[in-house]
Symmetry: C2
Subunit: 313 residues, 2 copies
């Protein structure tokens, strides 16, 4: 089968660091054009100012990968699907639950593949953890996601503006891993949202979940913190009913069982994403995991807010 043709939309840091190298290495798509509003270009590839101009120039284009900022993602995804393109989108797939549902419906109407990538889901350590949890009873789960917002988002006021997700911006990565590895669905039972006096979104959050079945016996909790200086922590600790302890650390790239590392293979996630995208395109099947975004919306809905000290950069 000849390779599907692909256009990449939005040539920023994530496109250069991850998408372009992974597309080249996996060699499963024929990258034929770029869209960039900043004029950034890759030698040998035609670059267009808008997605519509790319579609006009390459009417038989099969697929697009959208690597733009979130604010324009919904409109571009709708445009791509209506133009009949299989579409890969970066995370988070939408700003609101309603927009994500709209994209799912658009993909169905267009009869094209929509692939909403939660990149952290695509690590071998995550798959290994999922298999272990499926095979045995889970006693408890504790997510700890602590990072320094000043280091990773310096000066980005939008993250603390209404709709900017706040500490849920990294937290949704944790939830995308959590919902992928757990053997049963979870619901938000309670949430404490700590919001700086001069901001709209939480800088810290503590969530308690209720499992949908007794495949998980004990508590499932998550602690997201945006004020962690020094060592950064992105880890999930799991106690199994049989006494084993699983630690999924470094953002889902390393798995240890009872303190012994069993899987450690960072930086392959985007190659796995493009293999998965090609498989979805070949089957004309969509893959949109709405659960992480739903859990964030639910935390906002049932959460209790507390005002904490003002935050300034």
């Amino acid at each position: 089968m000849s390779k599907p043709t692909l256009g990449l939309v939005g040539v920023g840091k994530i496109a250069r660091d991850q998408h372009l190298p992974s597309i080249a290495e996996t060699d499963l798509f024929d990258l034929v054009a770029l869209v960039s509003t900043s004029g950034a270009a890759v030698p040998g590839l035609p670059t267009f100012a808008t997605q519509a101009e790319m579609f006009a120039a390459f009417p038989t284009l099969d697929a697009v990968a959208l690597c733009t900022p979130p604010s324009v993602r919904h409109a571009l995804t709708v445009e791509a699907l209506r133009a009949g393109k299989h579409t890969l989108i970066e995370k988070p797939p939408a700003a609101t639950v309603s927009e994500l549902q709209d994209l799912v419906d658009e993909a169905r109407r267009a009869d094209r593949c929509l692939f909403a990538t939660w990149h952290s889901q695509f690590n071998p350590a995550v798959d290994a953890a999922r298999d272990l949890l499926a095979a045995g009873g889970v006693q408890s789960v504790a997510v700890t996601w602590r990072e320094d917002v000043r280091r990773w988002h310096p000066g980005q006021d939008w993250i603390f503006a209404a709709g900017g997700f706040g500490v849920f911006d990294p937290g949704i990565n944790a939830l995308s891993i959590l919902t992928r590895i757990l053997p049963t669905r979870i619901f938000v039972q309670a949430a404490d949202l700590l919001v700086p006096a001069n901001r709209d979104t939480p800088i810290e959050a503590r969530l308690a979940f209720r499992p949908a079945s007794d495949a998980i016996r004990g508590p499932v909790t998550a602690h997201f913190d945006f004020l962690q200086e020094g060592e950064q922590t992105w880890s999930i600790a799991i106690e199994m009913v049989d006494g084993r302890r699983l630690d999924l650390t470094r953002g889902g790239t390393v798995l240890a069982v009872d303190g012994v590392v069993t899987v450690s293979e960072p930086d392959t996630e985007y190659r796995r994403i493009y293999r998965r995208f090609r498989d979805l395109v070949d089957r004309n099947a969509s893959d949109v995991d709405a659960a992480p975004l739903h859990l964030i919306a639910d935390a906002y809905s049932v959460g209790r807010r507390r005002t904490v000290a003002a935050f300034d950069w």
Copy 2:
């Protein structure tokens, strides 16, 4: 075709005022049993303390109508579907987006009908408004839902506790009508949530929506207010592109075009609900409109909070 057998779960005010008379009048289901924790009974009908006991006594029961308070709705719905019963649930269908998605998935797995009733959607005036909006361009839409919480929910502190919906408890009725009549999907663009200093949920909310298509030209807004004394207002005002003005008032039961009432037929909604339920059961088809709950979750997610004066009964 013989009538499906039905069990009614939760014999409170809504069951006595609406469900029982509508089941009797429409004569489309054979009501054979009740479940009531308070022992309240209807002459001639066996009453059980739990849903499971009713299922054990009537193993061939076809359907249940769940009229319980929201807190136990999810668990009872899962139990009913897993027992193979077609299931009607009162509004709101779930406390969170994730729970509602879970119910949809359970119904699919069980291959049974799940009918999430938004009762206000089932008025002839709502249908008439929907037809008018589908036929012509919509210029603007303004929802005004102002009621006195002290009159309708006296002393019910749970409504202002985290997860209790606050002014979104009546507001979700407005949104269920809005999403039913509009010719295109809407997204929450901005929301102001006014929360009393001593409570967790809003007592007033102003929402601005962005239409998904140009079938709606101008602004779509909603104003929910829980402190309205005197006359109570549950109305939706629509300006059409051709200059006509539509007013859907009294909670969606009366429609006026340019000031002239064209439809006014209150109190038939539950009869229409049971006709619809029977049709769904006959076709083994589900009807779950998630849009109203999604919009509330989105308003919480992207909304800006302001603290207002403490509220006491």
